[in-house]
């Protein structure tokens, strides 16, 4: 075996081992929720909603989906973009063809359909282990994008490849304003995250981790390995599918297969690796990093480099800096931002001998 080929190892365990019920953590989650639901709508303007908050929340959800499959259950996947596309197109078709269904149910339905597709894509995981699983998921990535482009029914025979999303409304309230789309996104993210949180602490979640940490050992002690793998693909793809539907409806306003290309899958993988494999909060931290860094970089390059460079050149420089940041992260913080934050909280706690509010974000 090549020196570095140890596939998804148990190192990610470190990230999950922070005490789940600790008061700091509970306080932190509550405070974050309060800020997101109460404080943000007071201060945020349209730019914050459209460019930062909504994409951050949605990508965190997409990352969360991948983290369930890959971080918790150890099944590598490069198909997140495809699952998001399925979620988006499925929700679009549900809204279009079953108009009696309220928006939340269409979103849920889109997620479930994406989950079923994920289940099929995950079937090879019963025979293939480790990093090689990226091949079938990549196949799905290309095949699904191709299908949506070729089969007109999915886009209701729209002439352009980007179809505009139907009007967003819930119980007679219009959700198409930035604040409304933010509320929809936040609510979906909170609900899905809560379900995921319950799930990873349930028997299913324990099965996933057992399969990740030692498939053979798990099988010996009676963990249903195949069921664990397939359920991880199902749940992960379903969560990513909801994220995809939100991406299309609450963020872009159009349903377009091109916005769910391979780069989106890579982005999701960056999110969970930078944030922390096998950590729910890591998905959010990673998404903050992945979404905010390019924005920060473009602001920085605007102020530092002035007007001497054209947009293409600035974009190239950003690629370089982003790539370097990724590599730096992989080298310096193997367990991701979640572990970094955890050790920071620990250190502060030891310093102060009392719960410290700095663990709150």
């Amino acid at each position: 075996m090549p020196p570095a080929a140890a596939a998804l190892d148990g190192r990610a365990l470190a990230a999950t081992s922070t005490p789940a019920g600790s008061p700091i953590r509970a306080a932190g989650i509550l405070a974050a929720l309060a800020i997101a639901a109460v404080a943000v709508p007071v201060v945020a303007d349209d730019y914050w909603y459209n460019a930062i908050l909504i994409p951050f929340l949605i990508m965190a959800l997409a990352g969360l989906g991948l983290n369930l499959t890959m971080g918790f259950a150890g099944q590598a996947s490069l198909g997140t973009g495809a699952f998001m596309a399925v979620g988006a197109y499925a929700t679009y078709n549900l809204l279009l063809r079953v108009p009696v269904l309220p928006l939340p149910f269409s979103l849920l339905g889109g997620g479930l359909i994406a989950g079923l597709v994920g289940l099929v894509v995950g079937l090879p995981s019963l025979r293939i282990r480790g990093f090689y699983l990226v091949a079938p998921t990549l196949a799905a990535q290309f095949l699904i994008a191709w299908t949506f482009n070729q089969v007109g029914w999915f886009s209701n025979y729209a002439t352009s490849s980007a179809i505009s999303a139907p009007h967003l409304a819930l119980l007679g309230r219009d959700l198409s304003s930035p604040a409304g789309r933010y509320a929809l996104t936040l609510a979906s993210v909170v609900v899905v995250t809560a379900v995921a949180w319950r799930l990873v602490r349930s028997r299913t979640g324990r099965d996933w981790r057992a399969v990740r940490d030692g498939e053979t050992a798990a099988a010996i002690i009676g963990v249903p390995v195949s069921r664990a793998k397939l359920s991880a693909f199902f749940v992960g793809a379903a969560v990513s599918g909801v994220a995809g539907a939100l991406w299309a409806f609450a963020y872009l306003g159009t349903v377009d297969a091109r916005s769910f290309d391979l780069d989106r899958s890579f982005q999701a993988m960056f999110i969970i690796i930078v944030g922390g494999l096998g950590s729910l909060s890591g998905s959010f931290l990673g998404a903050a990093f992945i979404v905010l860094t390019p924005i920060l970089l473009s602001h920085l390059s605007g102020t530092i480099l002035g007007t001497g460079l054209d947009g293409g050149q600035i974009a190239n420089l950003q690629r370089v800096v982003f790539g370097a940041l990724i590599i730096g992260f992989l080298i310096k913080e193997p367990n991701g931002l979640a572990a970094l934050l955890g050790s920071l909280v620990d250190r502060l706690r030891r310093l102060a001998h009392r719960p410290d509010p700095l663990g709150e974000d």
Partner: protein, 293 residues
Amino acid sequence: MSFFLETLVGGVLAGVMYALVAIGFVLIYKASGVFNFAQGSMVLCAALTFVTLTEKGLPFWLAGLVTLAIMVTLAVAVERVVLRPLVNRSQVTLFMATLGLSYIIEGGSQFLMDARVHELDLGIADLPVALGPIQVSSFDLVAAASAGALVLGLALFFERTRVGKSLRAVADDPQAALSVGIRLPALWAAVWAVAGFVALVAGLLWGARQGVQFSLTFVVLKALPVLIIGGFTSITGAIAGGLIVGAGDALAEIYLGPLLGGSVSTWFAYGLAVAFLLVRPAGLFGERPIERV
């Protein structure tokens, strides 16, 4: 029938180029267990450097040498800055690191040189040549011949020389290889340098075909199915896989495309690869089970 043959031969000729790119992967994979996603951006970087130098008026041989020097420097830097600190990390982490690396190489080379499409004329004529009952482009023939020669040369180099033997020793058992005194960092640098050289040749051939531009990096996406079909650890496998994918793509596009509505080649190779994974997970020439229990 002759149309079928023409499609097949055209596909096989393209497949030789896939094989060329795939060999760069196999070398790095054998030496360090990294699936090097940056191989595509190395192809772009090499071709872009070469074409920029020739546009500045350098003769071909000098431009080639300078580009090679740059690629070797890049290889050594990658070993020092990226691979060494990431020793013993999971395969996915290493893959992500090469993804970050590809951002750096792509952004960097497009920043320093021009991002527009460069014409690259290697002075090889592109004329139809009658080959028995079928017509083949003379450029494709020359390209496939040079790629084939390089592939053979590399295969021999890694079969016969000391570097090649150390490479196989490391692929077999890195600990044992280290303990008998094989210098892993030096080997990594050497292998990345060879991969840089392969990228240069591939970049020149592909660049002359379709212009030197960003889309050169996409060859990396064709290399994964090639490797799965051939086996990640086998140069022979990379060649066979390249030919199979090249021929399969061309035939599928012609015969399957009209039935399914076109652009089948975006995913056909992956479908083939998945079929191989299910039936023969180690690939045609893979050396061992793909995942140890």
